[in-house]
């Protein structure tokens, strides 16, 4: 299957799976470790991938949330994410996709402007999170946030769905930007 679809498989019992896509191996691994350390009622699974499409011969559980990780220091990571986005079904973008941007703290090393990722996130109507994954404190709090988002997207939080979370996240932006 070259395109990821959210409803391709049945959900596992009490399982929540997140897919982190990005070229930054070390940072993704550290983020995954921080997420797995979190206290969570659901059984978490974290999948890491360099890019999409994922190899089709592997047996994997249903993916509840995809987070694309972009490093502002490297245009290559942005190009990789833009390429991978083409292999995601549109129904995923109803709250089950997020963008995580790292590296904004060190402006002197940035090759990609913040506005570029802002426009990308707005084009895909998905939440954009900024976090310096190299700093442990920020990474831990971002891991907590991602775990909560994942629980919502897996349907483990009663009364909140991925789509309602998405509209909650979006209403905090100023209204004049919505007509993009």
């Amino acid at each position: 299957m070259s395109v990821l679809r959210p409803q391709d498989q049945l959900p596992g019992l009490n399982a929540a799976t997140i897919l982190l896509v990005g070229k930054e191996d070390a940072l993704l691994q550290q983020l995954a470790d921080s997420m797995l350390k979190e206290d969570c009622a659901s059984s978490l699974k974290v999948h890491l991938a360099h890019s999409l499409p994922l190899p089709s011969d592997v047996n994997r559980p249903r993916i509840d949330l995809i987070v694309f990780v972009i490093n502002l220091h490297s245009k290559y990571s942005l190009q990789n994410v833009e390429e991978s986005l083409r292999h995601v079904d549109t129904t995923f973008f109803l709250g089950k996709v997020g963008f995580l941007v790292t590296g904004a703290g060190r402006d002197s090393h940035c090759s990609v402007h913040r506005n570029t990722v802002l426009k990308l996130a707005r084009a895909y109507r998905s939440p954009l999170l900024f976090c310096d994954l190299e700093v442990e404190g920020f990474r831990v709090s971002m891991a907590q946030r991602l775990v909560r988002m994942l629980q919502v997207c897996a349907g483990h939080v009663p009364g909140v769905s991925a789509l309602s979370l998405l509209s909650l996240l979006r209403s905090s932006e100023s209204p004049c930007l919505e007509d993009l």
């Binding site: 220091h73 245009k75 993009l180």
Partner: protein
């Protein structure tokens, strides 16, 4: 460095609302405009031509060329006045002589008879609103009356503000906003001048680093300059972040080829868009990838050198050629 095309209707609507605003409100509004604004068109545009070409006297700014300038970012100067330049010269001379005699900056055989000159640089500004640039020079006074009285220039520094509209809105009347400081000369002198300015005008200097994003814009815009003849190749230096030592990749191309590439990418005259800059750099990177299978986009651009000017990420620039057209 980057500026946005703020649509006229939005800015005028906000300005009307803030006619009687305090400086703090103005500052908050300006910050909000900068952070929340996303331009409606897909590209960001920066005007290519600047107004300063009319006022500049070529002889006076000839000293700017062929020198390496170190860039610093400067906070607004408090109660700086263009009419007091002579007093500033005297105070700064006295300060430097006193500091050097304290033994803080000791060099063997140094001539302590120095003179400091402050002068305004007319025309070094982007728009009429920008405050005038001024120049500080440290000259060594010669002992012999037969020699040229001016002496040798030991250190040069100049302060300027180019297209500082966003900043000028938030600054109150007591402050002069000249955010860019360029220095050429001994580092000890730069530190002394910096200390004096910080004490006298309550400002703060910080070294200005140029990130890879801005360097790629500089490369594109300098390549776009039409030249009669090219004296140097266009060079890029990329730093590969790999432990334990970092690798450097130097990529040199003929300036005519770079210009040809830019011309094929560039559309509207007088305007440079983000897409064109990205395409220009992507072409160079994909050419490199085809030959060496290395993704330059995963590395960091640290230096750009063209026939017009060169810039390094640590804030050192050099303008090589005075474009006549």
């Amino acid at each position: 460095m980057d500026s946005y095309d703020i649509p006229e209707s939005t800015s005028s609507r906000l300005k009307d609302h803030f006619i009687g605003a305090t400086p703090l409100q103005k500052r908050l509004e300006s910050v909000r405009k900068l952070t929340s604004f996303v331009p409606p068109s897909p590209q960001r545009k920066i005007p290519q031509c600047s107004q300063l070409q009319e006022d500049v006297d070529p002889q006076k700014v000839a000293f700017l060329l062929h020198k390496q300038w170190t860039l610093y970012s400067l906070t607004p100067l408090y109660k700086f006045s263009y009419t007091n330049l002579r007093e500033y010269s005297k105070f700064l001379s006295a300060f430097i002589v006193a500091e050097k005699q304290k033994g803080l900056a000791v060099e063997v055989g140094e001539d302590l008879n120095i003179k400091v000159i402050f002068s305004t640089l007319l025309g070094m500004k982007g728009t009429q609103r920008d405050p005038d640039a001024f120049l500080v020079q440290i000259l060594s006074k010669s002992h012999l009356p037969s020699e040229n009285r001016e002496g040798k220039v030991l250190w040069t520094g100049w302060f300027c503000c180019i297209f500082g509209d966003n900043l000028l809105e938030t600054v109150s009347e007591d402050f002069t906003c000249l955010p860019l400081f360029l220095a050429n000369g001994a580092e000890t002198n730069t530190a002394l001048i910096g200390t004096w300015f910080q004490k006298t005008f309550d400002c703060h200097f910080s070294p200005l680093a140029i990130n890879a994003f801005n360097l790629s814009w500089m490369a594109a815009m300098w390549t776009a300059c039409r030249m009669d003849h090219y004296v140097a190749t266009t060079e890029f230096l990329w730093s590969v972040p790999c432990g334990p030592q970092s690798l450097d990749i130097a990529y040199a191309i003929h300036s005519e080829d770079a210009k040809a590439l830019w011309d094929s990418v560039h559309k509207a005259p007088g305007e440079v868009t983000q897409e064109e800059v990205d395409l220009f750099m992507d072409c160079l990177c994909s050419h490199f990838h085809r030959h060496f299978k290395i993704h330059l986009s995963a590395t960091r651009l640290v230096r750009v050198s063209t026939s017009v000017a060169s810039a390094h990420t640590n804030g050192k620039i050099k303008v090589s050629l005075n474009k006549s057209s």
